[in-house]
């Protein structure tokens, strides 16, 4: 049955119908009718952020920690332009988001009206799809399609722009069950083409002498079942497995087959194994440049299998031998079935030789660092944070930079959806609002934003949000007074000229926390660290823990730009080969 209501009511009804519980947003002139409707209902909770950029990262944190769609509501003009970074971030990391923006009334569109901007034009390249809805009768079909598209196939952000007059106008509401989305608008797995491919996959794996699994964020997006299946398959084959930054948690860190993270700041053994393997099984990763290093030297002697839901990732940068397009969960189920039916086995003696080699690489102990009693080493701070929080239900978010890499290296993730970091876009300012979103979704969990002193200032205004909603988010700042990763690159590639990477006039983070009526803590010496961490996790309030760490510590191991997996730099004393250093300088 169709019901007539206002556009704004249709928006709310659509959200309710889609099972939305919380919306992150900020009001303004062009969304007032929706905020008015929001005021009159109780089924949807609204979290008021302090800048729209915070809203979208919070929605990302919510989506990543739950697997649900994150919803954002902002006004026209600056409201819309402020979410562009977050939309791009969600696009790059495949996070399902529905973003609702207000627009000036239709008769003013194109007149350079107050707070007007071409929102669909601006956001076209940074959304999976977007809509400008001009007819209230089309609102509910658009909303239901938007939610489906956001989750469907490779997830991503979808934006709906609604002129103010459409929010007031009356129209019919259509239930989501009645909406039929044409198949070409959705992802269609090529199951029929995949049967042969799956036979090829199992054949190659059973014959490989030096196989390695390369596991990415697609395994997390595919749902918790995917992580189980990955573990199961890795165990069945006995092969080593390495994870991308986005894939951390798919296979538990303590899993005996896990080699940890690979790539630019990945584990030595993982990168060496990628270089030397004879079969590379990519599950849900996209051969990102942070992972591959120099392409012409990337895993030169291997056959490559690539399982990905997005066909455009196949052969995009790395040519593969067996592409399988589809959802990780359904493909792994089929692979496991075929594997069992054919009674396949990997050659144990070959695998043993392979593992012996890997175990030798492990002896390098690439994460080794020298602790001292005077200064807190950032690596040590993360190690202690892990030890003191590992028994709790902990979510870790990060900003972007050295602290992010140290968190990825030294914090051990055992479960998927517990590690929220901006991988593709590398958005400083992501971690704190993402932590707010994760805390809203998981009120009983311990949510910690591992931050740097520079990154945290990019969305520090959200302190007000965290305190208002009594969200006990913990901000764990590794404070070295530098934009650490910028400084590190300047040291390694630009003759140590630290151009604009020192953050002078930092606030007193303890007083800053207190001014927001939150708790501020500080550790200056290693012996104070455990006490501060314990106090931080035991309070039920928002906390900023300002951890003073060694100022010029570098993040190692590292594959410098322009180098290959087997050319890792393990410490400051080891110089990169001059030729590749020169070539690498122009890269990002």
């Amino acid at each position: 049955m169709k019901q007539e209501m206002t556009g704004a009511e249709i928006v709310l009804q659509s959200l309710v119908d889609q099972g939305v519980e919380v919306v992150f947003g900020y009001p303004g002139g062009a969304v007032l009718p929706i905020y008015d409707t929001l005021f009159k209902q109780n089924s949807i909770k609204h979290v008021l952020v302090r800048q729209e950029g915070g809203a979208i990262h919070a929605a990302e944190g919510y989506a990543r920690s739950t697997g649900k769609v994150g919803v954002v509501l902002v006004t026209s003009g600056p409201g819309a332009t402020n979410v562009v970074t977050g939309l791009t971030d969600a696009m790059m990391d495949s996070i399902p988001i529905v973003c609702i923006t207000g627009q000036v009334p239709q008769h003013l569109i194109g007149s350079d009206a107050f707070q007007e901007c071409d929102t669909t034009g601006i956001t076209r390249p940074c959304t999976k799809h977007n809509y400008l809805v001009k007819d209230p009768n089309k609102l509910s079909p658009v909303f239901h399609e938007a939610f489906t598209i956001a989750k469907d196939g490779r997830p991503g952000p979808v934006l709906i722009d609604i002129p103010k007059d459409v929010q007031f106008a009356k129209g019919n509401y259509t239930q989501k069950e009645k909406i039929i989305i044409p198949s070409h608008r959705l992802f269609e797995p090529e199951i029929f083409k995949n049967d042969e491919k799956i036979n090829e996959v199992v054949n190659l794996i059973s014959k490989a002498k030096k196989p390695i699994f390369y596991i990415g964020g697609g395994c997390i997006n595919s749902g918790p079942k995917a992580s189980e299946l990955v573990s199961q398959f890795v165990e069945t084959t006995g092969a080593p497995a390495t994870m991308t930054l986005m894939g951390l948690g798919v296979l538990g860190s303590s899993h005996s087959n896990s080699l940890g993270m690979l790539g630019m700041h990945g584990m030595y053994e993982a990168n060496m194994a990628m270089h030397e393997c004879d079969l590379l099984i990519n599950i849900g990763a996209r051969f990102d440049d942070r992972v591959t290093g120099r392409l012409d030297a990337f895993s030169p002697n291997s056959k490559k299998i690539h399982i990905d839901i997005d066909e455009s990732n196949i052969n995009k940068t790395i040519k593969v031998d067996v592409p399988v397009v589809g959802d990780v969960t359904s493909i792994l189920k089929r692979i496991l079935k075929v594997w069992k039916e054919n009674n396949l086995k990997t050659n144990q003696s070959d695998l043993k030789l392979w593992w012996d080699k890997i175990n030798n690489w492990k002896k390098i102990d690439c994460l080794h660092f020298t602790n001292n009693e005077k200064e807190i080493k950032p690596q040590y701070a993360i190690q202690r944070l892990y030890e003191l929080t590992k028994d709790k239900k902990t979510f870790i978010t990060t900003e972007v930079g050295q602290h992010q890499m140290w968190a990825a290296q030294y914090y051990k993730f055992e479960k998927p959806n517990r590690w929220l970091t901006s991988g593709g876009l590398g958005t400083m300012g992501y971690g704190f609002p993402a932590a707010i979103g994760a805390q809203v979704a998981n009120p009983d969990a311990l949510v910690i934003d591992v931050a740097g002193d520079a990154s945290i200032l990019m969305n520090i205004q959200e302190m007000s949000t965290a305190v208002q909603y009594r969200l006990p988010v913990k901000i764990f700042i590794l404070n070295n007074e530098y934009m650490g990763m910028v400084r590190q690159w300047q040291e390694l590639l630009h003759g140590g000229r630290y151009s604009e990477s020192y953050t002078d006039s930092l606030p007193d983070f303890v007083k800053l926390a207190e001014s927001y009526k939150a708790i501020g803590l500080r550790a200056k010496k290693p012996k104070e660290l455990d006490g501060v961490i314990n106090e931080m996790i035991n309070t039920d309030k928002t906390v900023i823990a300002d951890i003073w760490v060694s100022k010029e510590e570098n993040c190692f191991p590292m594959i410098q730009s322009g180098s290959a997996h087997n050319e890792m730099v393990l410490s400051k004393d080891q110089k990169q080969d001059k030729h590749s250093a020169e070539k690498g300088k122009i890269l990002v």
């Binding site: 034009g121 999976k128 608008r185 290093g293 120099r294 012409d296 455009s312 052969n315 940068t317 040519k319």
Partner: protein, 180 residues
């Protein structure tokens, strides 16, 4: 072969012209999505043609002429398919046999001294006179782009002309072009 921050492995693939036809829902912004993908990812458009092809279903067909290696063009096809309102993409070149044609309108400065020669050239290329005003005559010529190029070259040697060209449209000669 690809676009990455790192050097590509050496490749001997040759870059050549491809005609892509893209069937899309005729909805606002769809053309912007398609051409935005090209400019955003650094691909090249040599010519572009778009018109609705079925009124009742609101479908449009976009014909794009682009240049690239087969790897690049295959990437373009896959990126096009990610766009929500795109139904299908065919690379007519790969299908082997297709027919292409384009239309040009040519405004020719005609006078008593060049008249005869111009009409000869126009007859030879089967260019049709469609308008005649103020000493200017407008001819229409349709067919393969190569033929239009030659026509323009020949007329240009005689007198000053002004040209508009549609860019090619193309269709597969297979009977059952798979379409939704």
């Amino acid at each position: 072969m690809n676009k990455s921050v790192y050097d590509s492995p050496e490749t001997t693939a040759v870059s050549r012209r491809h005609i892509l036809t893209v069937l899309v829902d005729n909805e606002p912004g769809v053309l912007a999505r398609v051409i935005g993908m090209f400019s955003g990812r650094g691909y090249n458009i040599e010519s572009l043609n778009v018109a609705e092809v079925s009124n009742d279903e609101h479908l449009s067909r976009i014909t794009i002429v682009t240049e690239g290696t087969s790897e690049v063009v295959s990437q373009i096809e896959k990126q096009l398919l990610r766009i929500v309102p795109v139904h299908s993409v065919s690379n007519l070149d790969e299908e082997g046999s297709s027919v292409e044609a384009e239309v040009a309108l040519v405004n020719i400065d005609l006078n008593d001294s060049n008249k005869k020669k111009i009409y000869e050239v126009c007859d030879f290329y089967r260019a049709r006179r469609i308008e005649n005003e103020n000493n200017y005559v407008i001819f229409e010529i349709a067919g393969a782009s190569e033929r239009i190029n030659r026509f323009i070259k020949d007329v240009n040697q005689i007198t000053k002309i002004e040209i508009v060209r549609s860019g090619p449209v193309a269709i597969s000669t297979y009977k059952n072009t798979k379409e939704e």
